[in-house]
């Protein structure tokens, strides 16, 4: 038993040894290491994501309280620091009650949406706390929150997230009296890079103004102030929350719902926690899964959940209620496009709601044409999900895919061959409203390609295209007629000159008469080819 053996036999580590390194990691810790999943891949995008999360939160809060939003955004370089910015977003929303401030901003996955579905910008309860997390990770500074609910008290709080516990850590807290206002102001310091480009903050805010034409947004950027004025003063109708539809629930969510339900029996679970499940449907599901009706849902676990999930898929159910959605509606879309893009023609189409995998959704599109839109470039495509602009990953997005699969040529527009966006002075607006938007990833940048969604987008665009083509064709005919007029105006002096020499008549008179015929529309301008001639060349020299 010498050194030799020791060399050969490596020391085997026991499970106990390994267990010393194993521990539960919190969601905060996870995202600390996987920040790209939340849209913080690089410094440029990170700055946009911070602004986006705060603005989305503000708009959601205002709309829920039925307040016409006023949003102030400020992005300023920290003096003396490279790539370090202070981002602040302020709204005139309802404010946040004191006891919730910490959890709203300082705890990931804080939300109330396990048992209901509601069309809103946020879905998972990660957004704003994710921004706080990114800020403290890159600057080490706490988030500064100032809020009031209109009771004369203004709460100021500096907080950080305890990533190990996924709990807010209040650094400083105080209350000021006297000022009467409501709303929230959040200020974060974070690493970032400010670049004006296609996916810049100002572009994001411009698109936000397009899809939220009732909001006023003032942006104080490192390059100066920009104001996006509201084009309408009314909010869209209020969305209603609905319970999940069984066909829209994935197995993981079903497991979680079983664990957290307040129902005592399986029948009760299905009839109270879901929409569109009556007694008989619930019984059929349970029968197919071969469970007892009185089984406590909390006792179902492991492979049993799978059995229940399979049974749910086999039962025919009515579609979920569709009146829960809040589309912008055609007028709002048209007003927003007119105000922000200054085109000469706009058309918007709002489709009736439909369902993908048990989730209600609604598609609306707008097309702006001409005016101040750039005439020779590829059309601008603006994608929105629940009124939030989607800035990245157009290539993976069902909305973009549907737009380029349209035969725009059919509607009088130019289009490169193959699936492509049209070319010309065109901007296309596509909005999906849904209680659960099927994003391809947590960073919420692209919509998954459900056939129902693609079909609805196409139907909407085709209808808009038909209306646009009437306008475009009318305009083109007018343009062609003007072009012909000017062509003949140029020919007239030449023909008058030659005809004067041929006939002996006076040149000026011929020209005047021809011009009169042209301008007063005395003559119909034809466009018919002459019959073809034989090739003269080999016939005769």
């Amino acid at each position: 038993m010498s050194d030799k053996t020791a060399d050969r036999v490596e020391r085997v580590r026991s499970a106990e040894d390994l267990s010393r390194d194993q521990r539960e990691i919190s969601i905060s810790e996870f995202f600390e290491k996987n920040r790209h999943l939340l849209g913080y891949d690089n410094k440029v995008k990170a700055l946009l994501t911070v602004v986006r999360e705060a603005v989305d939160n503000s708009l959601d809060a205002c709309e829920t309280a039925r307040i016409v939003p006023d949003i102030k955004v400020s992005v300023k370089l920290v003096s003396g620091m490279k790539d370090r910015y202070v981002i602040s977003v302020e709204d005139n929303g309802p404010g946040i009650v004191k006891q919730n401030i910490g959890r709203v901003f300082g705890k990931l996955l804080f939300g109330s949406k396990f048992h209901k579905l509601l069309q809103s910008r946020g879905q998972q309860g990660i957004g704003i706390s994710g921004a706080v997390l990114y800020s403290q990770l890159t600057s080490g500074k706490p988030a500064k929150i100032v809020t009031s609910t209109g009771d004369g008290k203004t709460h100021c709080m500096d907080l950080m997230i305890d990533t190990f516990k996924n709990e807010p850590e209040i650094i400083k807290e105080d209350v000021r009296e006297g000022k009467n206002w409501h709303g929230v102001k959040i200020e974060l310091e974070a690493e970032g890079k400010y670049v004006e480009h296609q996916q810049s903050i100002s572009e994001y805010l411009k698109q936000t103004a397009l899809s939220n034409p009732y909001a006023e947004i003032i942006y104080d950027s490192p390059d100066g102030k920009i104001k996006f004025e509201r084009s309408v003063k009314t909010l869209p109708e209020e969305p209603k929350s609905i319970k999940p539809h069984p066909h829209g629930v994935e197995i993981g969510i079903l497991r979680r719902m079983l664990r957290t339900t307040e129902a005592r029996t399986l029948t009760g679970f299905f009839t109270t926690d879901f929409s569109r499940v009556g007694q008989s449907s619930a019984k059929e599901i349970i029968r197919l899964a071969k469970f007892g009706e009185d089984v406590n849902p909390k006792n179902i676990d492991g492979p049993q959940v799978e059995k229940l999930f399979q049974a749910v898929q086999q039962v025919q159910l009515i579609k979920p209620p569709l009146d829960c959605l809040s589309p912008l509606r055609e007028k709002l879309i048209e007003e927003g496009l007119k105000k922000q893009l200054k085109p000469e023609y706009v058309v918007a189409i709002t489709r009736p709601p439909d369902v993908y995998r048990g989730n209600p959704f609604q598609i609306e599109v707008g097309v702006a044409y001409g005016g101040e839109l750039p005439p020779d470039s590829v059309a601008a495509l603006y994608r929105f999900a629940n009124r939030v602009p989607l800035m990245y990953q157009a290539g993976d997005c069902a909305l973009a895919k549907a737009v380029s699969e349209i035969e725009w040529r059919r509607y009088g527009l130019e289009q490169a061959s193959g699936a492509a966006l049209p070319t010309g002075p065109i901007a296309i607006f596509v909005h999906i409203a849904s209680v659960w938007v099927p994003f391809t990833s947590e960073s919420k940048e692209a919509i998954a390609s459900y056939p129902e969604i693609i079909k609805e987008v196409k139907l909407a665009l085709q209808e808009a295209g038909r209306k646009l083509s009437i306008y475009v064709n009318k305009k083109r005919r007018a343009g062609e007629a003007a072009l012909r007029m000017s062509l003949f105006e140029k020919y007239i002096p030449e023909v008058a000159d030659a005809l004067a020499r041929l006939s002996g008549a006076e040149k000026g008179k011929i020209a005047a008469k021809l011009e009169n015929m042209l301008k007063k529309g005395k003559v119909v301008i034809e466009d018919t080819e002459e019959p073809e001639k034989p090739a003269g060349k080999e016939d005769d020299a």
Partner: protein
């Protein structure tokens, strides 16, 4: 003569001005020069223009430029007539060519366009090109025992050395002082003419030899017609054995599609095709000098075989069939393989003596 043409051009101008006075789209009616509007007159063995016409108007996007070209060339012609000057087709092209102010449009871009306008004016006015004082370039070569007077000069076709005399575009004023020949040989190739001239064939066989390059010009066709009708000389045609050569013969004899409106002044119904024929190729063993047919040759052969004036001619259809079967063509110069002067010493004398030709 000139007065007549001026009057006709004047009429065209007045008609157009009248249209404008009446606020009508100024337009001219032009007979259609296309195969669909050409009729073969079996009696006279001549192509004639049919009754189809088309209208060219100013206020028509597709016509405006051609309308301007026609009026412009008409004005140029009228000016030439009034000043008793003649211009070449090339001159007319440059006289008409200019850019319309504030556009990138030229009145004419290519000579073909002003040439077409000239032909259209011939149709509209019923005057031929030379009467409008527009001439083509002189072309080709002639030699023989003939003396002519042209613009006051006397030209002896037997004393012109190796070059011969080029035939002017307009031979209306030409006077024949002496014509001493038994027949005329017209050949497609200048090189063959030079061979025959060097061998003094015109002297040995007492004939006139004429060539151009490719299609015969109007001047040459007119001259052949005069020699045929006024001097009763047989006209023999010598071309390559291919669809293009046969069409040269076809134009000489029957007239062309493009100039069917003046066939009466140009065609030579008595012309005969001397060679080279399919039979010559077999007789003189020329197959080894064949050139393979290309796609264009096949399609041209097809077209020519279907023309009214060849369709029912058994002798010609036999030639076409042999050419098609051989999938090949042959040049006149292939005869040189039998000796440089074989054509002069043996081929031509024998063909003519044996009356070995196609009609």
């Amino acid at each position: 003569m000139a007065g007549e043409a001026v009057k006709k051009l004047d009429n065209l101008g007045k008609k157009l001005v009248k249209d404008i006075d009446e606020e009508k789209n100024p337009s001219m009616t032009i007979p259609l020069r296309a195969l669909s509007n050409v009729v073969f007159d079996r009696q006279d063995k001549t192509l004639r223009i049919g009754g189809k016409t088309f209208v060219r108007s100013f206020f028509n996007v597709a016509h405006a430029r051609k309308f301007l070209q026609t009026v412009e060339v008409g004005a140029i012609s009228k000016d030439l007539l009034n000043n008793n000057k003649h211009a070449s087709l090339r001159d007319v092209f440059y006289m008409a060519k200019r850019t319309i102010p504030n556009t990138k449009i030229n009145v004419v871009d290519e000579q073909q366009e002003s040439d077409n306008a000239v032909e259209d004016l011939e149709m509209i006015t019923g005057s031929w090109r030379e009467q409008l004082h527009i001439n083509a370039n002189k072309l080709g070569a002639v030699a023989g025992n003939v003396i002519v007077e042209d613009a006051g000069d006397t030209i002896d076709w037997s004393k012109l050395g190796s070059g011969g005399w080029s035939i002017p575009s307009n031979i209306e004023e030409l006077k024949f002082k002496k014509v001493d020949a038994k027949y005329v040989i017209y050949m497609e190739k200048a090189a063959v003419w030079e061979r025959l001239n060097e061998d003094k064939v015109w002297k040995k066989l007492n004939c006139i030899i004429i060539s151009s390059q490719g299609q015969a010009t109007r001047g040459i066709r007119r001259m052949l017609q005069i020699l045929s009708t006024e001097y009763k000389l047989p006209i023999y045609v010598l071309t390559d054995f291919d669809p293009w050569g046969i069409y040269i013969y076809s134009v000489l004899k029957f007239g062309s599609i493009n100039l069917a409106h003046i066939s009466d002044r140009l065609s030579v119904p008595n012309a005969r095709f001397l060679g080279i024929t399919a039979d010559d190729i077999e007789k003189y063993d020329l197959k080894k000098h064949f050139i393979s047919f290309k796609d264009v040759d096949f399609s041209r052969l097809e077209q020519i075989g279907a023309y009214d004036w060849f369709k029912n001619n058994k002798d010609w259809q036999r030639q076409f069939k042999m050419m098609k079967d051989w999938k090949a063509k042959a040049e006149i110069q292939a005869l040189s393989a039998r000796g440089i002067s074989f054509i002069s010493d043996k081929y031509l004398p024998e063909k003519i003596k044996n009356e070995d030709w196609l009609d």
